[in-house]
Every structure is written in structure tokens, then in C-alpha cells.
């Protein structure tokens, strides 16, 4: 191995991580607000500092100069009943923002990358911009609001259980495999930036076997996976849309009436076990 690597494999995740006391200078805490300058921190350090601030009783964390650090907000699980944090991000957070998020609220003033809200448990993520691929992957609770577009495989394997029903609202459009293998949850796609052009996503809801998807705007039947059908909107659906899209519009300052005035498609899986025949033996 020595021949091919320099002194064995170097750990690119933990290689340059400093001890907490060496990085405390990057956090300024005043009463219950902490400001963290993330421009010189690797991602474990960012999360170490955030955890430290939370344990100090901080209620609001402002991250400045974020430059691609991953897993921001992921290690803020506290067993005791402890108040939830408000996390403000300036800059460009890296992949898996808010992974496993435990009830906190993250607001990003800019674009996010891949894996926003990966396996998120509860809380809220708001993105004032676009996000990358696999947004809300395996999400199991809470809400995500994305103002602009999302990439491939959004909401892949999103799930729900009893009262834990995750909600994702996307203001722009999505790319292929939107809602792939969805097992639960609610996804709303608004198409606000399309100017009456159709959505381009293909293989929408392929393999979907739970949950509900709402799409505002034009989609042709060939763009849908074989496992979903279009069903009529009912009063309950409108109630849901009015609440969550209403919140979305309020957050981003969009006129609610114009959004709700559009036509919505409701997609539901036609079977709970689309591949039962393939794998059963």
C-alpha cells in the first residue's frame, strides 16, 4: 500500500481537524446568539462549534463565510428537552445540509448542494435559492422549502409513520426521478419560474409506493413513472396545499393567490408493492 499512497490512506475528513479549544476564537457568543466565522473551518470543526454553542445555551447561530462544508447541523441531537435552534447560513453550504436534523430550523441565504435534509427527522430547512440532487432523501419528518429548482432524485425514498409526515415544497422545477421510490410524505412542485413551459422532469415518481405528490404546471403522461396515477384533488388536498404553500409564499414573499390559482395534479401510487411480482419467489 505504501507504494500507492503516501504513508497509507490519509483521512480527508478528519485530517485537518483542530481541537475545540483551538477553534473557539471563530465563535462569538453574545447572550443567546452565536456568530461563527466558518471560512477557516473544516466541516467537523463547524459542527463541533455549533454543538458547543448549543450546549452553552445559545438559541440562534449565524454561520458566516460557509464554503462548502458538509453535514451542517447534523450533530445537534440532545436527549434532554432543550430548545430548538434557529440556524442562519450565509455562503454556500456543502452536501448533506441538515442531515438527520433534529427539530432545528436552518435558513440558507444562497444555494445549497446535494442531499439537503438527508434522513432529516424534524425541523425546517429554508433555501433562498436552488438545491442540488437527492434533496430530502429518506426524509422522515419536518419541512423543507426551496425557493428555486432542485436536481435529480428529489425526495427519493421519503417516508412517513403515523404523525410524522415530511413535507417538501419546491418553488421552481425539478429534474429526473422526482419522487423516486417515495414511500411516504408530501411533495409539492410549483413550477413558478416556468412561465407556462412544461416541467422537463422524466421518470417522475418511478417506484413510488406511498405518500402524495402535487405538481403545479404542465406534465405529460410519458413523464410519469408506471407506478403512479393521476387522481382528483379533494378538499383535504386543497387544505394541505393552502397551509404549506401558504407558508412557502409567506416566507419568500410570493403572492399566494397567483400560486394557488394554478392547476394542480395529484399523483398517488397505484400499488403499495410495485415490485412485488419481480422479487417475490
Amino acid at each position: 500500500m505504501v507504494e500507492y499512497s503516501i504513508g497509507g490512506l490519509r483521512d480527508m475528513f478528519l485530517g485537518n481537524v483542530r481541537r475545540l479549544k483551538e477553534i473557539l476564537k471563530y465563535a462569538k457568543i453574545s447572550s443567546d446568539v452565536a456568530e461563527i466565522d466558518a471560512s477557516n473551518l473544516v466541516h467537523k470543526e463547524v459542527n463541533d462549534l455549533m454543538r458547543y454553542c448549543a450546549l452553552q445555551g445559545v438559541r440562534r447561530i449565524v454561520l458566516k463565510g460557509v464554503r462548502g462544508q458538509r453535514y451542517i447541523g447534523t450533530r445537534l441531537y440532545f436527549p434532554d428537552p432543550r430548545p430548538k435552534l434557529e440556524i442562519e447560513i450565509h455562503g454556500f453550504p456543502g452536501n448533506d445540509l441538515g442531515a438527520f436534523l433534529d427539530g432545528h430550523r436552518i435558513v440558507v441565504y444562497g444555494n445549497a448542494q446535494d442531499g439537503v435534509g438527508n434522513t432529516m427527522d424534524s425541523g425546517e430547512i429554508v433555501i433562498y435559492g436552488q438545491a442540488g440532487d437527492v434533496v430530502a432523501m429518506s426524509m422522515r419528518g419536518g419541512r423543507i422549502f426551496i425557493r428555486d429548482d432542485v436536481g435529480y432524485r428529489t425526495a427519493i425514498h421519503m417516508k412517513e409513520y403515523r404523525d410524522k409526515v415530511p413535507v417538501l415544497v419546491v418553488g421552481g422545477t425539478a429534474q429526473d426521478f422526482f419522487g423516486e421510490y417515495m414511500a411516504g410524505g408530501r411533495v409539492v412542485l410549483l413550477g413558478l419560474n416556468l412561465d407556462d413551459k412544461p416541467h422537463r422532469a422524466r421518470y417522475i415518481d418511478t417506484g413510488m409506493h406511498g405518500g402524495i405528490m402535487y405538481i403545479r404546471g404542465r406534465v405529460e403522461p410519458w413523464q410519469l413513472g408506471k407506478e403512479v396515477g393521476i387522481v382528483d384533488m379533494e378538499a383535504e388536498d386543497w387544505k394541505f396545499i393552502e397551509k404549506h404553500v401558504g407558508d412557502f409564499c409567506e416566507i419568500f414573499g410570493i403572492k399566494e393567490d397567483e400560486v394557488l390559482g394554478g392547476s394542480f395534479l395529484k399523483l398517488k401510487p397505484v400499488t403499495k408493492r410495485p415490485y412485488g411480482k419481480v422479487y417475490a419467489y
Binding site: 503516501i6 490512506l9 490519509r10 480527508m12 464554503r67 454556500f92 442540488g132 410519458w222
Partner: protein, 393 residues
């Protein structure tokens, strides 16, 4: 990469084959890619590419990094610049290559590539550069200069043990090795030594193939370079098809087929990027079925004629040659890509944060659909292509 690569290894001697088995077994791959072109042709130092790819440190693991730069040898721009690596400082290989080049080329300059001995890289091979002009004899006079150079590069790569040609284009070069990107950049002193109008960078996380100096990206033939994130599950098919056209894969990694496929399609067969994209990442049959008749004929024909060049598996690549750079992913985008624009600059990268690290105030950020290329062209080339298109019409 498939086991097909092992064939070559056995031919070239077993020692390195033994080492292969001791490589760490990794489950996933997440290389970092970055490319930038100044469409006005302005040349700049390596700093931008180095800082951008450094920002994606976690996408590589220090087992390979490399850079390609275009427009760096203006004083020798009419000569092919051969960067040749001699594994284990094998001076016999060097003598053999010298002899071979002297017999087949006019060499105007031959020197060791300047390196910084203080840089923290371990066990670097000898890397030499030759500026050469083809010296064709007999039947070979019928070959174009480019075809002649490809043939001779293949000869060195397959016939001369421990010698590998890193790059072989005019007025461009590839600099690569084992280390993190900033270490390789420091070793080759890219920030101060070179100025180019296209820079492409790669940080490697090898999974299925060895991390060795020759296996670092970019891969290059003539002035075509490719950097790649992912793995090519169609490698065996692609490799055998390319062998019919005289391309032999010797560098033990799947990306090599991509460089040769691009050279075959774009240089030799003169196909435009838009068509090449549809060969490497063709539309699905069920989408071809619903196209209009003309399109259906085109895409069916492409899929049939070029079936062995369909690149299967998860991949994102950035391809560059003089005047042009483009990024593209596989058709279902199993690896990420983001593009950004700022004035004449076009960036393509695995992550937006890497672009923002060197250009925070982009005019536009976008991500194309899988299989659709993002193309950055010199304005002068754009004009030339338009003129040619008008002639056809």
C-alpha cells in the same frame, strides 16, 4: 473498472500487479472535478484551479490529483509537447524513449519538467518533456501529423516498459501524480510556471484501480484531456471497440477509454459535441419512441452505429481541447455537476462551493439535465463554427 485492465498489467510485468492486491478496498467514489475557460482567450495562472479543487478536499483521498492547462507553451506552440513519465526513474526506459523519439521526430527541446523538491509528494517518477515535430518516413507519410503522433504515443505506452506519455498535445500539458491537488500543484509549481486560458483539475478517490502516478487524471491524447468522476461499467466493450481503431488502454483505469473515445469521435470523425454527447449518453429507447420521425431516425442510427461507445455507469466528465471545454454527466446523472458563468469565464465543477470559492459573485449558476453538455468555447472558435455551419446550409 472491470478486470479487463488486468490483461495489460500482466503483459507489463507482474510486480505492480502484486501490489494491486494490497490496495485498500473502497466502496464508493467521489472524485472532485473542476474546469474553467476564459472565452476571450486571456491566459491566467493555476491559482484559480488549485483553490477551487482544494475546496473539495473531501472528494479526494490524496491518491491522485492532476491538472491540464491550455496555452502554456506559446514559445513552442507549433510543436507537440510530450510529457513522459518514467516509472521508478527507469533510465533505461528513458534511453529507449530518447532513441525512439530521435528516430521518429525532430526534437527541438528536451528537458526535465521543472519541479519543486520541497513539495510533499513521495516517490515521484522522472517526468520529462520533449517538444517535437513529426519526422515521417515511408508509408507513414500518408498519416496526418495527429494520427502519426497517436501511433507513436501508443508505441511508447505499450512497448516501452516503465514509460508512459502523460500528454501529447501542442501548447498544452498535463501535470499529475499521487497526492492531494495542492501538493501536485506545488510539485509542478503550477501557480508560477504556467499561464493558460483553460485549466482543468481533478482530485482523485480511486476505488477499483490503483492510485499510481500514471493513473491520476487528466487522461490525455494529443490535446484532448478528460477528467472523470465515477466508474465505467461498459469499460470492456468500449476498450475492445477502441482497439479496432488503434487505441490501447495501458493506464489501469477506466477513464482512459473516455479520452480515446473522444479523440476518435471528435478529432478523427469530426463530430460536434452535441452529437458526441448523444453517443456517450444516448436517450433511452422509450424516449426515442416518442420523438418525431426525423429525430427518431437520427437517434436510432446513432445508437446502432455507436452502440459500443455508449458509456454505461455513473460518470461525470470534463473534456477539454484547444478552444473548447465541456462538462457532461451520464444520462441519469449518477454523479454531480454544476456550471457557473461570470463574464467571459465559464466554470464546470462537481460542487458549486468550489466555483464560489474562486468566484463568489457568479452571473449565473445552472445544472444541465443528465447527458446534456455544458460547453465553453473561445469566442474565436464560436465564430469559426458559425461560419462553417453557414457553409453547410
Amino acid at each position: 473498472m472491470s478486470m479487463a485492465g488486468m490483461d495489460v498489467r500482466r503483459v507489463r510485468g507482474g510486480a505492480r500487479g502484486m501490489r494491486r492486491e494490497r490496495l485498500p478496498d473502497k466502496e464508493h467514489q467521489a472524485c472532485g472535478l473542476f474546469g474553467v475557460i476564459d472565452r476571450s482567450g486571456r491566459r491566467f495562472g493555476g491559482r484559480v484551479a488549485i483553490e477551487a479543487v482544494m475546496n473539495m478536499r473531501v472528494r479526494g483521498n490524496g491518491l491522485g490529483a492532476g491538472f491540464a492547462a491550455y496555452g502554456i507553451y506559446p514559445e513552442y506552440k507549433d510543436y507537440y509537447a510530450l510529457h513522459v513519465m518514467f516509472q521508478d526513474w527507469d533510465l533505461d526506459a528513458k534511453r529507449e524513449v530518447d532513441k525512439f523519439l530521435e528516430a521518429n521526430f525532430d526534437i527541438v527541446c528536451s528537458e526535465e519538467i521543472p519541479t519543486n523538491p520541497e513539495a510533499p509528494v513521495i516517490d515521484p517518477p522522472l517526468i520529462w518533456r520533449y517538444f517535437v515535430m513529426p519526422h515521417k518516413k515511408g508509408e507513414e507519410r500518408r498519416l496526418s501529423d495527429d494520427d502519426y503522433v497517436v501511433k507513436k504515443v501508443m508505441h511508447i505506452n505499450t512497448k516501452i516498459e516503465n514509460a508512459y506519455v502523460f500528454s501529447s498535445g501542442k501548447d498544452m500539458g498535463v501535470f499529475k501524480g499521487v497526492g492531494f491537488p495542492e501538493e501536485i500543484a506545488e510539485y509542478f509549481m503550477l501557480e508560477k510556471e504556467y499561464r493558460g486560458y483553460i485549466w482543468v483539475a481533478h482530485s482523485r478517490f480511486p476505488t477499483n484501480t490503483p492510485g499510481w502516478w500514471g493513473g491520476a487524471h487528466p487522461f490525455c491524447i494529443l490535446d484532448w484531456t478528460v477528467v472523470h468522476n465515477g466508474e465505467i461499467s461498459s469499460y470492456g466493450t468500449n476498450k475492445r471497440y477502441l482497439e479496432m481503431y488503434g487505441y490501447y488502454c495501458t493506464l489501469l483505469t477506466d477513464t482512459e477509454v473516455m479520452a480515446y473515445a473522444i479523440d476518435l469521435l471528435m478529432r478523427r470523425q469530426r463530430l460536434p459535441i452535441e452529437i458526441v454527447a448523444k453517443i456517450l449518453a444516448p436517450p433511452m429507447w422509450d424516449h426515442i419512441d416518442i420523438m418525431d420521425e426525423r429525430q427518431k431516425r437520427l437517434y436510432t442510427t446513432l445508437r446502432m452505429v455507436y452502440a459500443p461507445l455508449l458509456i454505461n455507469g455513473p460518470w461525470t466528465i470534463i473534456v477539454a481541447h484547444h478552444g473548447e471545454m465541456f462538462g457532461i454527466t451520464d444520462r441519469i446523472r449518477l454523479r454531480p455537476i454544476t456550471a457557473g458563468e461570470k463574464g467571459d469565464l465559464l466554470f464546470v465543477s462537481s460542487e458549486e462551493a468550489a466555483i464560489r470559492a474562486v468566484c463568489p459573485d457568479l452571473d449565473r449558476v445552472f445544472t444541465p439535465m443528465g447527458g446534456e453538455p455544458v460547453v465553453g468555447r473561445l469566442k474565436s472558435r464560436e465564430k469559426e463554427l458559425r461560419r462553417r455551419a453557414e457553409e453547410v446550409v
